[in-house]
C-alpha cells in the first residue's frame, strides 16, 4: 500500500464530497464519513511499518517525499481517528446550519492536509501541507459568521506570520546544507555554530509555537476555538494544535537531535530550560484565565492552551520520561478535549446555540449520556486516577521532581488544581443545579452525537487503566530518537525512582467501590425526589432562580481578574493598529496633486545623479 494513496484519498475525497453534495445530501454525508474512516483504517494497517517514497518531483528541484515510521504513525493515526469522530458528530450538528457541502469539504481538507504534514518526509512538502492546512482552517473558522470573522482574521494573520518565519528557516537550512529531507538533515546541525542553531530554532518556533498556542503566541486560539463550529473546535483543539507539537518534536528530536538540543546554552539560559519555562508559563496563565470564562467553549479553549503547555514542557524537558509524557499527553488531550468540545457542542445543538455558562443548568436530567461524557472528559482533563490524563501527568511531575526542577513541577501541579476548579465549573453550570423551565422539554442528543461521545469516553477509561498500550508505541518512538525507553508493562511503569501500577489501583478502587455500593444498596432504600422538593429554609423553591452559577468563583475572580487581562492580546492589537496608522500616514505621500508627483520624479532623478557625483558609488 502506497502512502500517496492515502493522500490521494484524503484530498480527492474532500473535493468529491463537495460535488456529491450537489447530487444527493445523503450520499455526501455517507461519503464524508466513509472517507474519514477509510483514511483511519488504512493508517491503522501501517502500524509498526516504516517506508519512504518520493511522491512528486514536479515542484522546482525538490523531490517531495512521504515517509511513515512509528513517530508519524502515532500522530497521523490519532488525527485520523479524531477527525472521523468529529465528522460523525457533525452529521446532525451541521444539518441545521446550511452550506453543508462547503463545511464537509473544508473539514476533510483540513484533515487531509494535517495527515499530509505528518507523513511528509521533507521540509518543503511539510511546508506546503502546512499552508494548505492554514488557509483551509481559516475558511472554516469563520463559518459561523458574527464574532467568528474577527477570530478567523486573527488566526490567519498569526498563522501567516509563523509560516513565513518557518519558510525562512527551511530555506536557510537548504542554503546551508543543500537538502531539506529529514533523514539527510538529521544531526547536521551538530557542527553548526550555536548562533545559527538558535536562529533556526527561533524561526521554527514562531511558526510551531503559534500553531501550538504557546504563550505568548496563543492569542488566536481562544476566539478561534470558541467561535468555530463545535465539531471543528474538537478538531482544532484535539488535533490541529498538535501539529505544532509534532513539528516541535520533529525539530528537536529528528532534525536537530537530542544531543545538540541539550547542549544548546548553559543551565537556566539553555534552550531546554527556556522552552520548558515557557511551557510552564503556558500552563499557569491560561489556567487562571480559564477560571474567569463564562463561555463554555472559550473556557475549553483556554484550557487547551494550558494543556498544550504540559505537552511542551514534557517535550522540551528532554528526559525520556518527560518526552514520553509529552507525547502521551498529546494523545490523551486529543481524546478528552475532542470529547469535551463534542459535549459542549451537543448541548449547544439542543439548546439552539447556548454556550453561556450562566444560563444553563440541570441538563443531567435531560442529556444523561452527554453528561457522562462530560464527566469522564473532565476527569481525564484533571487527571483523576484511572483516566488517561493521570498517567501522562504523573510522568511529567515525577521526572521534574526527580531531576530537581521543583518549580516547573509546581507550575504543572498548580495548573492541575486550577483545572479542577474550571472543569467543575463547566460541568456544574451546564449539567448540575436547577434545570430551567425552558429546557424541560429538551431531548437527548441524537445518536450520531452520542456515538463519538461514548467511544471517546470509553477510550479515556481504557487508556487510563491500560496506559501500556500507547506507551508501547511511544517507547518505540523514543528509541528512534535515541532516548532510553521506559520500562513499561501494560498497566504501568516501573523504575527505580517511582513505580506506578494502574491495575492495583483499578482493582482497589473497583473493589472498595463495590463494597461501599453494597453497603449503600443494603441499607434502607431512599426515595427519589425532584428538584422542587429541596430545602429552601422553609419557603417554596422558586423556579428558575434557585440556582448558583453566575459568578461561581466570585471571590477568587475579584481577586485575580485585575492581573489577568490578556496583555499579550492587547499588545498585538495595538501593533495592528499602529501598522494601520502607519499605512494611513504613508498614503499621504500620494497627495492627489500632480505637481507633487512630477516633483517626485525629478527629485528621484536628481538624487541619483547627486549620489553619483558626490560619492562615485556606482
Amino acid at each position: 500500500m502506497n502512502l500517496s494513496i492515502i493522500l490521494a484519498i484524503a484530498f480527492g475525497g474532500a473535493l468529491l464530497t463537495y460535488f456529491s453534495g450537489k447530487i444527493s445530501k445523503k450520499a455526501r454525508d455517507v461519503l464524508a464519513v466513509l472517507i474519514s474512516l477509510v483514511i483511519a483504517v488504512i493508517l491503522a494497517f501501517f502500524y509498526n511499518t516504516s517506508s519512504r517514497e518520493i511522491f512528486y518531483t514536479g515542484f522546482l528541484d525538490f523531490p517531495l517525499i512521504l515517509r511513515i515510521d512509528t513517530f508519524s504513525w502515532f500522530f497521523a493515526f490519532t488525527i485520523a481517528v479524531i477527525g472521523s469522530f468529529s465528522i460523525i458528530f457533525s452529521l446532525s450538528y451541521i444539518r441545521k446550519k446550511g452550506n453543508t457541502d462547503y463545511y464537509y469539504t473544508m473539514m476533510l481538507l483540513v484533515i487531509a492536509s494535517m495527515i499530509g504534514i505528518i507523513l511528509s518526509g521533507d521540509l518543503v512538502s511539510f511546508y506546503i501541507f502546512w499552508e494548505i492546512m492554514s488557509w483551509s482552517t481559516f475558511l472554516l473558522i469563520s463559518y459561523n459568521r458574527g464574532p467568528a470573522i474577527a477570530a478567523g482574521i486573527k488566526y490567519i494573520i498569526m498563522s501567516v506570520t509563523g509560516s513565513v518565519a518557518m519558510l525562512v528557516g527551511i530555506i536557510s537550512l537548504y542554503s546551508h546544507y543543500g537538502t531539506v529531507i529529514y533523514t539527510e538533515l538529521s544531526g547536521l546541525l551538530y557542527n553548526a555554530s550555536s548562533g545559527y542553531t538558535i536562529f533556526i530554532f527561533v524561526l521554527f518556533f514562531i511558526a510551531l509555537g503559534i500553531k501550538n498556542a504557546i504563550w505568548p503566541l496563543h492569542v488566536w486560539l481562544p476566539p478561534a476555538h470558541s467561535e468555530a463550529p463545535s465539531p471543528f473546535s474538537a478538531v482544532l483543539s484535539g488535533t490541529l494544535i498538535k501539529i505544532g507539537t509534532y513539528g516541535i518534536i520533529l525539530l528537536i528530536y529528528v532534525i536537530v537531535k537530542i544531543n545538540v538540543f541539550l547542549n544548546l546554552g548553559e543551565g537556566i539560559v539553555s534552550a531546554r530550560y527556556i522552552i520548558a519555562v515557557t511551557g510552564a508559563i503556558t500552563i499557569l496563565i491560561p489556567t487562571f484565565i480559564a477560571l474567569l470564562q463564562d463561555d463554555a467553549k472559550r473556557l475549553l479553549a483556554w484550557s487547551t492552551i494550558a494543556q498544550a503547555g504540559y505537552i511542551i514542557l514534557g517535550i522540551a524537558y528532554g528526559t525520556s520520561e518527560s518526552v514520553a509524557s509529552g507525547m502521551f499527553h498529546f494523545f490523551n488531550h486529543a481524546i478528552f478535549k475532542a470529547l469535551l468540545f463534542m459535549v459542549v457542542g451537543a448541548v449547544e445543538y439542543r439548546t439552539n446555540g447556548v454556550r453561556d455558562l450562566n444560563s444553563l443548568g440541570g441538563l443531567i436530567k435531560k442529556m444523561p449520556v452527554t453528561f457522562v461524557g462530560g464527566l469522564i472528559g473532565i476527569c481525564g482533563l484533571i487527571g483523576v486516577p484511572l483516566t488517561n490524563g493521570f498517567v501522562s501527568k504523573w510522568l511529567i511531575y515525577k521526572t521534574l521532581i526527580i531531576n530537581n526542577s521543583p518549580f516547573l513541577a509546581f507550575a504543572a501541579l498548580l495548573g492541575t488544581w486550577g483545572t479542577i476548579l474550571y472543569s467543575y465549573k463547566l460541568l456544574h453550570n451546564m449539567f448540575l443545579g436547577q434545570l430551567p423551565e425552558k429546557y424541560e422539554k429538551l431531548e437527548r442528543a441524537p445518536f450520531s452525537m452520542q456515538l463519538p461521545i461514548v467511544i471517546l469516553s470509553l477510550a479515556i477509561i481504557l487508556f487510563g487503566i491500560l496506559p501500556g498500550l500507547p506507551l508501547k508505541v511511544i517507547n518505540s518512538i523514543e528509541s528512534g530518537f535515541g532516548l532510553e525507553p521506559l520500562t513499561i508493562n501494560i498497566w504501568g511503569i516501573t523504575s527505580d525512582t517511582g513505580t506506578i501500577n494502574m491495575l492495583n489501583l483499578f482493582v482497589a478502587v473497583f473493589l472498595i467501590g463495590i463494597m461501599i455500593w453494597l453497603i449503600f444498596k443494603g441499607s434502607k432504600k431512599s426515595a427519589g425526589i425532584g428538584q422542587y422538593d429541596n430545602y429552601a429554609a422553609g419557603t417554596t423553591v422558586p423556579k428558575n432562580k434557585y440556582h448558583y452559577s453566575v459568578d461561581f468563583y466570585g471571590p477568587l475572580h475579584r481577586m485575580i481578574s485585575p492581573y489577568l487581562r490578556d496583555f499579550i492580546d492587547d499588545f498585538y492589537m495595538s501593533l495592528a493598529r499602529s501598522i494601520k496608522n502607519l499605512g494611513n500616514g504613508i498614503r499621504r505621500i500620494y497627495t492627489g496633486d500632480v505637481g507633487y508627483y512630477a516633483i517626485y520624479i525629478m527629485l528621484f532623478l536628481a538624487l541619483l545623479i547627486f549620489i553619483q557625483i558626490k560619492w562615485k558609488l556606482w
Partner: protein, 301 residues
Amino acid sequence: MVMTTILEIIFIILLAGIIGLFFLGLSRKIMARIHWRYGPPITQPLIDIIKLFNQTSMSHGFLFNFGIIFSLAGSVVVLLFLPFGRICPLSDSGGLLVILYLMLIAPLGLALSGGEAANPYTSIGISRKLLLAFGYELPLLLILLTVMTHYNTISIVEIVNKQFQAGWSFQHLSLLLPGIAYILILPAILGFRPFELIQAPQEISSGPMAEYSGKFLALTTIQHAFNIFISISLFTNLFLGGAANPGYFFLKILAVFVIFLFANAVFPRFRIEQAIKYLWRWPSILAFAGLIIVLITGKNF
C-alpha cells in the same frame, strides 16, 4: 503474600474509620469542655451513623448516589497508600503524587453529588470548598515538592524510612520553614476554624450537606472521619517521622489533632477571600523560601 496484603487493607480501613470517628467524638467532647459544657459521649458519631442508616433518606438521582460512593471510595483508597506505622499495602503504585491525586476524588465526588441536588446552598458550599482547596494547595504543593526534592524521591514510604535514619523532617534545618507553613495550613485542610467556611451552618445551611439525609448523611460523616485521619497522617508521615508501629503512630496523630482542636475552639471564622489571601501569603512565602533553601543546600540523600 496476597493474603497478608488483604488483611492489611481490611485492618487499615477499619482502624482508620474507628480512629476518625473517635476523633470526631473527641472533638465534640473537647469543644464542649472548652465551652464549659458537658458534651455528648465520645461514641456519639457512631451512634448517629447507626441511627442515620435506619432513617428514611431522599435522593436526587443517580449522580447524587454515585458521587457519595465515589467520594468515599476515593478516601478509602488513599488509606492504602499512606504508611500507617509501617503498614502500607500499595506502597509501589505511584507514591506521593498518586496520594495527591487520590485526595482529589473525595471532594470531587461530593461536589458531583451535591451538584445534582440543585440547591444553591450546596453549590455555594462546593464553590467555597474548591476555592479553599485551591487556596491551600498552593502552599501545600510547594511543601510537598520541597519534601520530595529534599529526599529526592516521590515515594512516601521512602520518605518515612529516611526519617528513621536521619531524624524527623522538622529536625532538618532546611525543612523547618515548610514544616511551619504546613502547620499554618493544616486547619484549612481539616476544615477547622478559622477556615470553617464550607459548611458554615449559620450562613449557608451546612453547604454541601444541605440536601443529605439518612444514609447519605451517614456516609458523608464516615467520609469526613476518614478525611481527618488522612490529612493528619499525611502530615505526620511527612514531618513527624511516621512511626515504627501503629500504636505509636496513633499517639502522634492524636497529639496533632488535639492541638489543632484547641485552635479551632478559639478562632473566629474567615471569609473566603480572607482565607485565600491568608493562605497565599504567609504559608506560601514560607514554603517558597523552604524550597529555595532546599535547592541551594542541594540534595541530602
